[in-house]
């Protein structure tokens, strides 16, 4: 199935003719944003376009299609296969994954339970359809830095949002799992809390994450990592967006079990990482064991320049730079 066909399947039969024509006109589609009573916006690489009766328009004029409540409900029902209850957990988390690994973010009225946690989202009025961009080979240029002999080194990918962290992580997972010029294939366990790495739909990965990869979909990171260790005995555990001291403790426990770790984190520099990881530190005496330098052997930094995501640096455990010049021209994703 082509990406266009995957996107078309998001929309109900009644809206398909409208989108069929529009999608033919769009190149490098990144997002489709829908809000009741507002113009349908299509985000392409570096530009915002609108959907009108005549097709795609660069300007918000009178012909623009404003989506109605009925249409949003139809899209939601179609995405959930008229089984909203089956997607209750996903809706509660604010997103749904559809075949192809595309994610549909939803917003509306939040229903709280007695303890103040989010019970569900009703009256869904806003949708953000994010098109999945799997880039096979995105990690080619960094793979040689991630092994010592044939052992995978504990690696942390650091970048601000939108710089291709998950794309790079996914391709590293694929290459570690399938094998690459530097080592044979290893068993990989992925804890995919937000269904972004494997883009699983009904438990089936929609992105290529390798033949030796087990995916625990929509599971909280900390519980998921230990669950995978107990049940699937992975050689490498991969998680996306670690963000606090508890995550570091869990990664440390994985290392004690003899597996390697691969993770991503939001940030621009090593200073950011220290700041985030020790944000809610409550155990100062034992905290040293959970510091990034005690866990990771490699740090990969990404940056976005002129709309292109690139590897800017690879550092070793001591913070020494590893051949920066090699990364100057290669692009991870747009």
């Amino acid at each position: 199935m082509t990406k266009r066909e995957e996107i078309m399947r998001i929309f109900p039969d009644s809206l398909k003719p409208r989108w069929e024509h529009a999608l033919l006109q769009v190149d490098k589609l990144q997002e489709i944003r829908l809000a009741i009573g507002q113009p349908v916006r299509i985000m392409t690489a570096g530009a915002e376009k609108f959907l009108s009766d005549k097709g795609i328009s660069d300007y918000c004029n009178q012909d623009i299609w404003c989506i109605t409540e009925r249409e949003i409900n139809e899209i939601l029902q179609n995405v959930c296969r008229h089984s909203l209850y089956a997607f209750e957990n996903e809706i509660r988390q604010g997103f749904l994954t559809v075949p192809g690994g595309h994610r549909i973010g939803v917003a509306g009225q939040v229903v709280l339970s007695g303890d103040g946690s989010i019970r569900n989202i009703t009256h869904i009025r806003f949708m953000n359809i994010r098109i999945s961009h799997e880039v096979i080979g995105a990690a080619d240029e960094v793979m040689n830095f991630l092994y010592q002999d044939t052992s995978f080194l504990n690696t942390l990918i650091i970048a601000p949002p939108g710089c291709g962290k998950t794309t790079l992580l996914r391709d590293i997972v694929r290459q570690v799992s399938d094998g690459n010029p530097y080592a044979g294939g290893k068993q990989v366990g992925v804890v995919d809390e937000r269904s972004e790495i494997a883009g699983s739909f009904m438990g089936i990965p929609q992105n290529n994450v390798g033949m030796r990869t087990d995916v625990l979909d929509a599971c909280p990171k900390i519980q998921g990592m230990m669950l995978l260790m107990r049940s699937m005995a992975p050689a490498v555990v991969a998680v996306d967006e670690i963000g606090n001291y508890e995550d570091m403790k869990a990664l440390s426990r994985i290392l004690k079990c003899g597996s390697s770790v691969l993770a991503t984190v939001h940030g621009n520099s090593m200073e950011d990482i220290y700041k985030f990881m020790h944000m809610d530190k409550d155990d100062r005496d034992n905290s040293r064991a959970y510091r990034p330098e005690m866990i990771f052997d490699r740090y990969i930094f990404l940056e976005k320049r002129s709309g292109m995501c690139k590897v800017s640096d690879v550092l070793d455990k001591q913070g020494h730079r590893l051949k920066k010049q090699e990364f100057s021209d290669r692009q991870i994703c747009a």
Binding site: D13, R81, H82, S83, L84, Y85, A86, E88
Partner: protein, 171 residues
């Protein structure tokens, strides 16, 4: 001799006609019980397995006999694999299945109206909505069963009686 043979044929014809009516009633009851089983299983798939409707239909197609088996598979393929609209696909395929079945309009609606009870965000609420439909079917089956015993005897007696009467008239 010919008169006698004619009388026997007329009586056999009338009895056969009424037996056919009784058989239709039995088939109607059998189909309604099959529909009840489908909904009961569906309730299980919704409440305990949290399966989406197309997925539940696929599993049901493996446990059910015709006439529903083929239709469930078609609905699954069209909704799950081709992304078609579920209510319309359900009504089209189930409408075709029920077209030649001896069910009344009210009984056919038990099946065709199924998509209208969907749309709940929680599995137990969705299963309870299906319970409403099940209650109606159960009540209808009980009514049919109660009236069927007496009705069958009456129809058969009428058939035989009509055969005798027709024979006398023809003689």
């Amino acid at each position: 001799m010919l008169h006698l043979a004619g009388c026997i044929l007329v009586m056999a014809g009338c009895t056969g006609f009424t037996a056919g009516i009784c058989k239709d009633g039995a088939k109607r009851l059998f189909l309604l019980k099959q529909i009840r089983i489908v909904y009961e299983n569906m309730k299980y798939y919704i409440a305990y397995q949290k399966a989406a409707i197309p997925e539940a239909l696929w599993r049901l197609s493996e446990n059910n006999e015709e006439p529903f088996r083929g239709a469930f598979k078609k609905i699954y393929r069209e909704v799950y694999e081709e992304g078609r609209n579920f209510p319309l696909t359900w009504q089209r395929h189930m409408g075709e299945v029920l077209e030649n079945q001896p069910l009344t309009i009210k009984e056919k609606k038990f099946v065709l109206d199924f998509p209208s009870c969907l749309g709940f965000m929680e599995e137990n609420a969705q299963a309870m909505a299906l319970d409403g439909l099940l209650r109606e079917i159960n009540l209808h089956i009980e009514e049919l069963e109660a009236e069927r015993k007496g009705k069958n005897k009456m129809i058969m007696s009428l058939g035989v009686g009509a055969g005798v009467l027709l024979s006398i008239l023809l003689l």
